[in-house]
């Protein structure tokens, strides 16, 4: 048990330290770490993203609490959540204490010049990897890119594709709220997977 607590603390400290750009950008890192430790499956991490959208709090912190409870109960959740917040705590209190002014730090601005586009790449890969798992009915959504079209079509989850098309139109064209979008796709899931 003691070993698990340390592992949760260290892993989520690492995630907290590299939480840059916030929100969706950190999905790939969090998934990598959680799945690598065998704490959740890739599919379960998607459930946690969905839960995060419907409840208060950002994904990084919700993921820490969720994984902590799953693996080590409430003490586990406490270690994981403290771990994910601790890097911010140390850095931000130092910044507040010494009144570091970020506009005057060219090196940080230069680093951000590379990190901002990286965030776009990270978010795009989060969408790609989750889409692959969702749209193909194979373990982990692994589809050989060079397989013939007939074989690929056979494993496509058409219901998921249909729900995605409706959801993306509702979101991009009609700008519906994320929580409503989750509810909408959930309702569509219940209807389509029942027939």
């Amino acid at each position: 048990m003691y070993k698990l607590y340390v592992e949760l603390l260290v892993t989520f400290f690492k995630i907290g330290l590299f939480t840059i750009g916030g929100g969706y950008a950190m999905i790939p890192l969090i998934q990598q770490e959680i799945v690598r430790h065998g704490w959740l499956t890739f599919k379960e991490t998607i459930d946690v993203i969905a839960i995060s959208e419907m409840t208060p709090g950002p994904f990084a912190i919700n993921a820490a609490t969720f994984v902590g409870v799953k693996t080590g109960g409430i003490p586990g959740a406490t270690f994981a959540t403290v771990g994910v917040v601790l890097p911010s705590f140390i850095i931000v209190t130092l910044v507040a204490k010494y009144s570091v002014r970020f506009k005057d730090q060219p090196l940080l601005q230069y680093a951000l010049y590379g990190l901002r586009p990286a965030v776009i790449g990270l978010i795009a890969s989060a969408a790609f990897l989750i889409a692959r798992t969702t749209f193909f009915m194979t373990p982990n959504g692994s589809v050989c890119v060079f397989a013939d079209i007939g074989n690929i079509l056979k494993v496509v989850n058409w219901r998921a594709v249909l729900i995605f098309v409706v959801a993306i139109i509702a979101s991009l064209k009609y700008k519906i709220h994320p929580i409503l979008l989750i509810v909408l796709s959930g309702v569509l899931g219940v209807i389509l997977y029942s027939v």
Partner: protein, 187 residues
């Protein structure tokens, strides 16, 4: 500032940030106006001009906006214990809600209707992420270097198992190198 006064402030910080934490659905930039209203307009803890700097800062250091803002404001108002109270306050609502959900989620997901709903939601999550992606491209990518970094990061993260940590470190290094190269060209 006497001791009782400070203790009162710490308690106040906890409750204000608890309220902020309870209403930060989805998190991120959407909650900036909400934080501003609580700490500038209602409680006058921070000056209007300073808050812009704070929001710029909390987005350029590691961590999430709500938590970073809580720690910064808490420290400014009541020192280290103010920062602790604010951080605990802002995290506690989601900690309670997520713990409750995590405890029951497995049995909840065994209900067929719930399992089907989550199958559907999985496709909805893809749509949500793509929407966020489109919104963020314009403020994040300024030139061809940016497009190149984004494309390389996408390819590495999608096709290999290389840790996102190395990818982020390499991107930061690339940003520094490209910036220096550009400066030398100008000079």
């Amino acid at each position: 500032m006497d001791k009782g006064d400070k203790l009162k402030k710490i308690r106040k910080l906890f409750f204000v940030f608890f309220r902020i934490g309870a209403f930060t659905f989805g998190g991120g930039l959407a909650m900036i106006p909400f934080i501003k209203r609580e700490i500038v307009d209602s409680n006058h803890w921070i000056e209007e001009e300073e808050i812009v700097d704070i929001f710029a800062m909390v987005q350029s250091v590691p961590g999430v906006i709500a938590v970073n803002s809580a720690i910064f404001v808490g420290y400014r108002i009541a020192g280290i214990w103010g920062a602790v109270a604010s951080a605990v306050g802002v995290v506690l609502p989601s900690f309670i809600v997520i713990s409750a959900i995590a405890l029951f989620f497995s049995s909840f997901k065994n209900i067929p209707v719930v399992a089907r709903a989550f199958e559907g939601i999985s496709a909805g999550v893809v749509a949500l992420i793509i929407t966020a992606l489109f919104q963020l491209i314009k403020p994040s990518i300024k030139d061809d270097y940016g497009w190149t970094i984004a494309a390389v990061v996408f390819a590495i993260m999608s096709l290999t198992n290389i840790s996102a940590i190395y990818v982020l470190l390499a991107s930061a290094a690339a940003g520094i190198i490209i910036s220096y190269m550009k400066k030398r060209k100008e000079a």
